[in-house]
């Protein structure tokens, strides 16, 4: 026992004053009266001190939960055993879901009542469980008796069940019967992103069986599909093309009912188009792809005149576009650094990139050895052919007197060797100078061996050495000759006159004519001849004797790359998994009219290939965080002209581009979930540095903004209170430089509540686990009892009892005082 107001106990000594006041007690009667009165006063003083005793609670509190919501087939009736148990409880509370009508006797059982969803609009079983546990006072044993069909419009049972288990409040369950709908759609779940103009898929699941399901919107029937039914459930995937962007209300009709939902349909896929060779390629591609793509072109891109000045334009064009298309755009036409930027965007940000085109793309477009070459899923292949370029050789032989004897013969030998190297398509001419100049053999095909040999044989030494007019003659002779190389070979002993050689030779060099010099016999070096060779961009040779005749290099056989863009009709095969074709893979694709040769790199997904060569026509692969595609012909050019009759071409192209595009719009990836009465939105930066200048933003359709806080680097969280019974439409995006919101995406946060008759049994409350976790059991098989986890006892006040005792003492006092007493004589006689 303890006193709540112990200060009153200080009054107790004053009770002794009654002995003396108003006069001292004498005699037995006075003593008796004093004792009675003092005792009564002591009791009152004790009562004033508020004595209480802690008593253990033998009986607990019972909470009965009655679920009479829509899915229950009948209102629950309390069994007699339950009534008895409730009557024996310390206190009893009733928690009802839906409209519950209790008889008067049952209603009297309960001290408190709490009702949920009396209009039957929902079945918040989780909240009812939480309330049931909450109604059992702290420290008091309790028991929860749950009558339910276990179906709830919200599956938020955890908190209530956890509390019951932690507090040791046994829960006894009784499963009531529930309606079993047949052919009723339960859920409409978008599979991936739904985007206007793109084929989207929704999955419909339901209870029972139905032959088909139909997806409808305000615009009419969007799709219809057969459903597979088994084990009391049906399942169907419907494909449709959302006609409009925005929040689209749809309903699914099945044999047994209707389900409604709102789908978030995203805006057309933004495509940044950089095109060069094909005029109006961006617009044409946009028309080919249809309403599902927003192809944005740079005003200067189509002109093929992108340069450094256009860098800003391109940067704005790229923005946060999830896909960049480089179509027939020569690498050299792009601003400096853009290729590196594109490669970085693909690798780090996950931006999709598709290169397409013909003669201005891939290898022919000059992308070899650029930052994009490694990124592409194809190796550039360019076949080569060896070429021997045509040459015209004019041999100028010094036949002056100084060349007499062996020297002229040596010069003839050198000339012969040089001419022998020429091929039939080459040409050759012979000029001799001996004070004057003369064409010993005019320029003619090198195949005229006999004529040329005769001309050489006719040469003989004599006369002066005047070389300049001879070279001039050769220059004019070569003017009208059409060969790849034009070469003049001067054979002399070096004893030539000086003159204005340099201007002539440099003019010849400018016109592609080279002049080489050969010093014949005697000296090994002639500074003059070396100068002539240098000015003529030729070579200097020295032929001291017939044993040291050099090989005069007039030309090098070269290998030339053939154009890798091959024109002609080529059959095409479809390849790849269902993701590329949206179903059956076609087998009769039209031919193409040209393509860029390439080889698929290991790991690349080839979607189209040239039938004969197996070379890829459309291929893609993952590069870092993004997907890169290669379309080896012009999507809207001559290469695909035959496909204009292929009705599925636009869809295929759209699917190919969409697969390569980043699945995310904007710099953040958003995830929204319901958490009780809150909507929690989590924004994760998609790439490093995404949050440096822009922050995530979100607002509801009623323009309520979310306040994001950073909870980790690049991870932001925002919470908003929202009615869990209603779905919430959100626009999510990022802030721009002016802190205004740029919406990147729409989200629908579904209502946490579904019509109870449409609750998936798989999502219902697990009654057996609940009973086991709380130490309860089934009402039908388990004896009812209260939990024993008492941490504090009940408190009982003794003050009323003490007051009653004081009154009784007073009555005794009065009685003794008033009761007639026997006379002394009688008392004496009795003695």
């Amino acid at each position: 026992m303890r006193f709540l107001e112990p200060n009153f106990l200080w009054l107790l000594p004053l009770v002794v004053a009654l002995w003396f006041w108003p006069r001292a007690v004498t005699g037995r009667a006075d003593l008796r009266a004093f004792l009675l009165r003092a005792a009564a006063l002591v009791l009152v003083v004790l009562a004033l001190a508020r004595p209480v005793v802690d008593t253990s609670v033998e009986r607990g509190d019972a909470v009965v939960v009655l679920d009479a919501s829509d899915s229950a087939t009948a209102a629950p009736v309390l069994p007699e055993g339950v009534r008895d148990f409730v009557r024996g409880a310390r206190r009893a509370a009733l928690v009802t879901i839906g409209a519950v009508q209790l008889g008067p006797k049952d209603a009297e059982l309960f001290d408190a009542r709490l009702s949920f969803a009396r209009d039957g609009s929902s079945s918040p079983l989780g909240a009812a469980l939480e309330a049931a546990g909450g109604l059992v006072p702290s420290g008091v044993p309790g028991a929860v008796l749950l009558f339910t069909d276990a179906r709830a419009t919200r599956s938020d049972f955890a908190a209530g069940a956890q509390a019951l288990a932690e507090r040791g409040i046994p829960t006894f369950v009784s499963r009531t019967s529930a309606t079993e709908p047949n052919g009723l759609p339960l859920s409409i779940e978008p599979l991936g992103t739904l985007r206007v103009g793109h084929t989207g898929r929704v999955r419909v699941r339901g209870l029972g069986a139905t032959d088909s399901v139909r997806l409808e919107s305000g615009d009419g029937v969007l799709a219809e599909a057969f459903a597979t039914s088994a084990d009391g459930r049906f399942d169907a995937v419907l494909e449709f093309e959302p006609p409009t962007a925005g929040f689209v209300a749809v309903r699914v009709v099945a044999a047994g009912g209707v389900a409604e939902a709102t789908l978030a349909v995203q805006d057309p896929l933004r495509v940044a188009y950089l095109g060069g060779r094909i005029q109006g390629g961006g617009e044409a591609l946009g028309q080919l792809l249809g309403a599902g793509f927003d192809v944005r072109t740079s005003p200067r891109a189509d002109d093929g005149s992108l340069d450094e000045d256009a860098a800003g334009t391109v940067e704005r064009l790229l923005g946060d576009a999830p896909l960049v298309v480089l179509d027939d755009m020569p690498a050299e036409a792009l601003p400096e650094g853009l290729l590196e930027e594109l490669a970085e965007r693909v690798e780090q940000r996950g931006t999709g990139l598709v290169m397409s085109g013909g003669s201005a793309a891939f290898g022919p477009g000059g992308y070899a050895d650029t930052a994009l070459e490694a990124v592409l899923p194809v190796d550039f292949v360019q076949r080569e052919e060896k070429r021997d370029p045509s040459t015209t050789l004019v041999v100028i032989i010094d036949t002056s007197g100084s060349m007499g004897g062996e020297r002229v013969q040596l010069a003839k030998e050198v000339a012969r060797l040089a001419i022998q190297r020429l091929l039939p398509h080459d040409k050759v001419g012979l000029v001799e100078f001996y004070g004057a100049k003369r064409w010993a053999a005019p320029i003619q095909p090198a195949s005229n061996h006999i004529e040329i040999e005769r001309a050489i044989n006719r040469l003989d030494a004599g006369g002066g050495t005047v070389i300049l007019p001879a070279i001039e003659e050769a220059y004019y002779g070569l003017q009208n000759i059409e060969t790849r190389y034009k070469h003049v070979l001067v054979l002399t002993d070096g004893g030539v006159e000086r003159g204005a050689f340099e201007p002539l030779l440099r003019r010849m060099a400018d016109k592609g004519m080279t002049v080489s010099t050969v010093l014949v016999g005697g000296n090994l070096h002639s500074e003059f001849l070396v100068d002539i060779a240098n000015w003529g961009k030729g070579r200097f040779y020295s032929v001291p004797n017939r044993f040291n005749i050099p090989e005069v290099l007039l030309k090098q056989p070269t290998s030339a790359q053939l154009p890798s863009y091959r024109t002609g009709n080529y059959a095409v095969d479809a390849r790849g998994g269902s993701v590329w074709w949206g179903g059956e893979r076609p087998t009769d694709l039209p031919d193409i009219a040209g393509y860029v040769e390439s080889e698929a790199r290991p790991g690349a997904d080839v979607t189209l290939q040239v039938a004969d060569t197996g070379q890829p026509l459309a291929a893609s692969w993952m590069w870092g965080a993004g997907r890169v595609g290669a379309f080896m012909t012009e999507p809207v050019g001559s290469g695909t002209e035959p496909w204009s009759d292929w009705p599925e071409y636009g869809r295929f192209m759209g699917r190919f581009l969409a697969r390569c595009a980043s699945p995310d719009d904007g710099p953040y990836r958003f995830e929204a979930r319901r958490q009780g009465h809150e909507v929690v939105v989590l924004a994760t930066a998609r790439f490093e540095g995404a949050n440096a200048n822009v922050r995530p933003a979100a607002r509801t359709s009623q323009d309520r903004a979310f306040d994001f806080v950073e909870v980790g680097r690049g991870i932001f969280e925002a919470r908003l209170a929202s009615d869990p019974e209603r779905e919430l439409w959100l626009g999510v995006g990022h802030t721009d430089a002016g802190a205004r919101m740029v919406e990147d995406r729409r989200l629908v946060v579904p209502s946490a509540s579904v019509p109870e008759v449409a609750v998936d049994p798989a999502d219902q409350l697990d009654l057996d686990r609940l009973a086991a976790a709380t130490g309860g059991g089934s009402l039908a098989t388990t004896g009812l009892r209260f939990g024993s986890r008492t941490t504090t006892g009940a408190v009982r006040s003794l003050a009323p009892l003490l007051a009653l005792l004081a009154v009784l003492l007073y009555l005794v006092d009065v009685l003794l005082r008033r009761l007639p007493r026997r006379a002394a004589s009688q008392r004496a006689s009795a003695r």
Partner: protein, 567 residues
């Protein structure tokens, strides 16, 4: 005025009985007769002998009777334990916030004192007091004596959990049109948003009681860890970063990793919160602690533990003679570490081998043995097969496979099936996996193998944010608390799993968690506040006044009796 230990009828019946008894006693008075005595020596004896034996006499001395009756009725009324009638026609719900922010300073004690005072002012039949922390708990049911409140409050203290007042209101305070007005009295700082108030309906009025002399309603925020998050690190696939968010302005948070105390790599403050970044930790599933350096590192607010995500390479054991294509795909996977079966998480074997025992397995079957080229083996026969297969197409990347090519190459239809088995497995034809196998040449092959291993391992994604009161991503898993804090298993019983309060929990697969206390005011409060009324003089309530009056009358009547004024 209401009586708490007597019914109205009982009181009046008792009062009538007392009045009757006293009336009878009043009439017991003897009748005097005149006797003449010769000397006063016999005065006393004469008195005795002349006393009449009359039982009843006429009722006299009504004032004395009234005094006796008053004394007796006061005592009887005190026995009835009267309380003042405070019924104002409304129901009153008192919600005491016992979440982590209430642990700051004297906030909780101030709130409980104000609660007791306020409860005394309300009608006991129409008041309900609940504590709201990680769960709802009644502290005083309607009709219960407020003495119980003090007793029960003694066992209540702030918990390491987020404020749940909004949830409590939505559970207990929604009223329909015909219900009496419910006045909700909030004690504590937990804010309530406008949207929540709107959901309660117009028959509910919410007010916050500010304890006298406290600053609980101010914007004072004591230093506390709000939450802890972790995620992949840029420094490597097997590394993680940890972020801790605090309020209160302290910048001395450290990460305790065994004997190592790490200071944050970066500290950034925005919106009144400070974000600490601890970079480049090994993601190996061990527990680390973040705490304030020095004072204030108490578990409730200044210290939080978190189990780092396990991002080590997947430990795989394989049989020796795998098809070359599969072997190459495994070897080229940087996320795979080859280990002995005893250390493995996943094994790769042929169907029928006992290699790896009961571990999840990537199993190679034969085209003759299995009709389907790909088979998912799952443990539970309760799983919806259609859902399982449908999800497998995406989860395992099977939709990227060129099925026509495989069918052409093998001369068999390529199908996906499911089985129920004792352990999770993914089977595929060994014929597809040789170096020349059609599947092994498919670009999707490494993707499917990698995703299959991931699916088999059952590794959860790294949990980004761990916070008491938020649902765990793996809602169906049962968690066992590690420690003496609670002995009950967290069991979602079909719903989301929400760790109710901070603490260290471990799941079956070794992942997770938990963090800490929430911010004091994460969002704007829409509740109007009022100061707590001055505490009533508890010593002089109605019952005590009656008792004091009774005591006084006892004394007065004693005086009268002793002076012979009371017949």
């Amino acid at each position: 005025m209401n009586l708490t230990s007597l019914s109205g009828a009982g009181f009046w019946l008792g009062a009538l009985a007392l009045a009757g008894a006293l009336f009878a006693l009043q009439r017991l008075r003897v009748r005097h007769r005149e006797v003449t005595v010769v000397t006063t020596l016999f005065w006393r004896d004469a008195l005795e002998e002349t006393r009449a034996r009359t039982l009843m006499e006429r009722f006299r001395h009504p004032l004395a009777y009234l005094l006796a009756l008053l004394v007796a009725l006061l005592g009887w009324l005190s026995f009835g334990a009267p309380i003042a009638d405070r019924d104002d026609g409304s129901d009153h719900l008192f919600v005491l916030d016992v979440s982590a922010p209430m642990a700051v300073g004297e906030r909780f004690e101030e709130a409980t004192r104000a609660l007791i005072d306020e409860v005394r002012r309300t009608d006991r039949a129409h008041r309900h007091v609940v504590a709201c922390g990680s769960r709802l708990e009644t502290l005083l049911a309607p009709g219960e004596d407020e003495l119980l409140l003090e007793e029960r409050l003694a066992a209540v203290e702030p918990e390491a959990c987020a404020p749940g007042v909004e949830r409590a209101l939505l559970v207990l305070a929604r009223r329909a049109g015909e219900d009496p007005l419910l006045v909700v009295h909030l004690l504590g700082d937990a804010p309530v948003r406008t949207e929540v108030l709107a959901l309660l309906g117009d028959r509910t009025r919410v007010e916050r009681i500010l304890p006298a002399g406290s600053d609980a309603g101010s914007q004072r925020v004591a230093p506390a860890i709000v939450d802890v998050a972790c995620g992949p690190s840029a420094s490597g696939l097997d590394r993680v970063d940890v972020w801790a968010r605090t309020v209160g302005g302290r910048t001395d948070l450290v990460l305790v990793d065994g004997a190592d105390r790490r200071t944050p790599t970066t500290v950034a403050t925005a919106d009144g919160r400070t974000l600490f970044t601890f970079e480049d930790l090994a993601g190996d599933g061990r527990a680390v602690t973040v705490e304030f350096e020095g004072p204030g590192a108490e578990p409730l607010r200044g210290r939080a533990e978190v189990v780092l995500p396990d991002r080590r390479a997947l430990r795989v054991a394989t049989v020796a003679d795998l098809p070359t294509g599969l072997e190459m795909a495994l070897r080229s996977n940087a996320g795979v570490e080859f280990v002995e079966p005893s250390r493995a998480e996943v094994v790769v074997r042929y169907v029928g081998d006992d290699f790896g025992g009961g571990l999840p397995a990537l199993e190679l079957s034969t085209a003759d043995g299995d009709d389907e080229a790909f088979v998912l083996v799952h443990e539970s026969d309760a799983a919806d097969p259609r859902s399982l297969l449908f999800e497998a197409l995406g989860d395992l990347g099977l939709e990227w496979i060129d099925g026509d090519e495989l069918a052409t190459a093998t001369g068999r239809a390529i199908e996906l099936g499911e089985r129920v088995g004792p352990v999770r497995a993914f089977r595929l034809w060994a014929e597809l996996c040789g170096s020349g196998g059609a599947f092994a040449r498919d670009a999707a092959f490494p993707l499917v193998v990698a995703r299959a291993l991931e699916w088999l391992s059952g590794r959860a994604d790294p949990h980004w944010i761990v916070r008491a009161g938020d649902p765990l991503p793996d809602a169906r898993a049962a968690f066992e608390p590690n420690g003496a804090e609670s002995t009950a298993a967290l069991d979602p019983v079909g719903g989301q799993l929400v760790p109710p309060r901070a603490g260290l929990y471990r799941s079956g697969d070794g992942a997770v968690l938990i963090a800490a206390g929430p911010a004091a005011r994460p969002f704007d409060d829409a509740v109007t506040s009022r100061d707590a009324a001055a505490p009533p003089s508890s010593a002089f309530d109605l019952a005590n006044l009656l008792l004091l009056l009774l005591a006084g009358l006892f004394v007065v009547e004693w005086n009268l009796v002793r002076r012979g004024r009371m017949p």
